[in-house]
Symmetry: C2
Subunit: 223 residues, 2 copies
């Protein structure tokens, strides 16, 4: 079973420090919700976000959604051979029960994430808890834990997939943010930082290719 972690994901509720900004207030009132109950979204709250620390890495729930779907729409996931976690930039983890299909509609995904982050219900399909990346890796007991980053050592995706296929309980981290790199806290918790391309690629492309190569490696090892 592969553990796939969308790490430091740009998914969070609007932080209180910008809840009174016009772009946030307008969005909240149009949707008839309190600002504390809406997702931070750069395409709407750009002006307000300029005040936030590390703003360039935050407020992209659309990218997190794309990345999640690029994993959960695959045969590997649908046959229960990948477990997906979203670890957010503020250290909240959403663990998806194997085989759970998240909404394909962005609206429905957004509403589900808002509800999950605000009410923290335990639906059995998504389990929410607080954890940093080091704690999450410890909880999973993953071995090895490999992060994908252009800052890593070059490896072909085929070779990486073969290694993952040979491991008992591996974890792969894909950055769930639009720009930038993993924090030192994340990097230090990894067994390895690997790069699969010389240029940065969107998280959803990386995740799709990884899952596909793992499927192919599994096909080879089981045939």
């Amino acid at each position: 079973m592969l553990n796939l972690i969308i790490a430091e994901a740009a998914l969070e509720l609007v932080p209180s420090e910008i809840s009174r900004h016009a772009s946030v207030r307008n969005d909240a009132s149009r949707r008839e919700l309190d600002p504390s109950r809406i997702l931070l979204d750069r395409s709407i709250h750009h002006a307000a976000m300029l005040k936030l620390r590390d703003d360039y890495k935050r407020g992209r729930p659309d990218l997190v959604h794309l990345t999640l779907l690029s994993v959960t729409s695959t045969p590997l996931y649908q046959t229960g051979r990948v477990k997906v976690f979203i670890h957010t930039c503020d250290d909240v983890v959403l663990e998806f029960r194997e085989g759970t299909r998240p909404p394909k509609s962005y609206f429905r995904f957004r509403d589900l994430m808002q509800q999950t982050l605000v009410e923290r219900p335990d639906s059995g399909l998504i389990t929410l808890f607080e954890a940093t990346v080091p704690r999450l890796l410890k909880r999973i007991g993953s071995d090895p834990a490999i992060g994908l980053s252009v800052q890593g050592k070059p490896i072909s995706l085929e070779d990486l997939a073969a290694r993952l296929e040979g491991a008992e309980n591996p974890a792969v981290l894909v950055g769930g943010f639009p720009k930038g790199h993993f924090t030192p806290q994340t990097t230090e918790a990894l067994d390895e930082l690997a790069r699969i391309d010389a240029n940065p690629m969107d998280a959803h492309v990386v995740a799709a290719r990884l899952v596909y190569e793992v499927e192919k490696a599994h096909g080879k090892s089981s045939s």
Copy 2:
């Protein structure tokens, strides 16, 4: 250059026959738009859509968006080696100029598609014209034109990619709809109908894998 056609795509404006249905009127008035200027969307207009012919194949702009991004976010596209067309279920074609990056935010994509389908501007980035699949293939002058479908003959994606890499001006059609199959009109215009998996896969997964294998085949043939 690979021509990738998202064919019979579930992308269209609300048809006039259901423009007076409550689910459409409510959506239009909430967004302060005329019903004729909004995209048909099953997640919002489900009740109204039950009256439509072939309703199960229609009203999924979210899937079209996902499929488009799974192509346009890749190195192959970004280096100008894929040309993308969206052919809609009502025979409108959107041709994307090489390298054009569509919006990643679903909201912005929706608004862009609405504007493009209503006003039909020629921005230079997206060219719009009316054409059936047979006419589109003739216009492209593609050889061969291969459709991907579970109804096709089995081929590995690696072998398909090698064939495409060896062709001058090939076209691949991926169905841009949630369920069902290509129409007979489409199928008859193809040189070949091929299947890459025994089970149906989402269009965005198929497109992502196809582009990835073509990239790998290109790397092999050019190294």
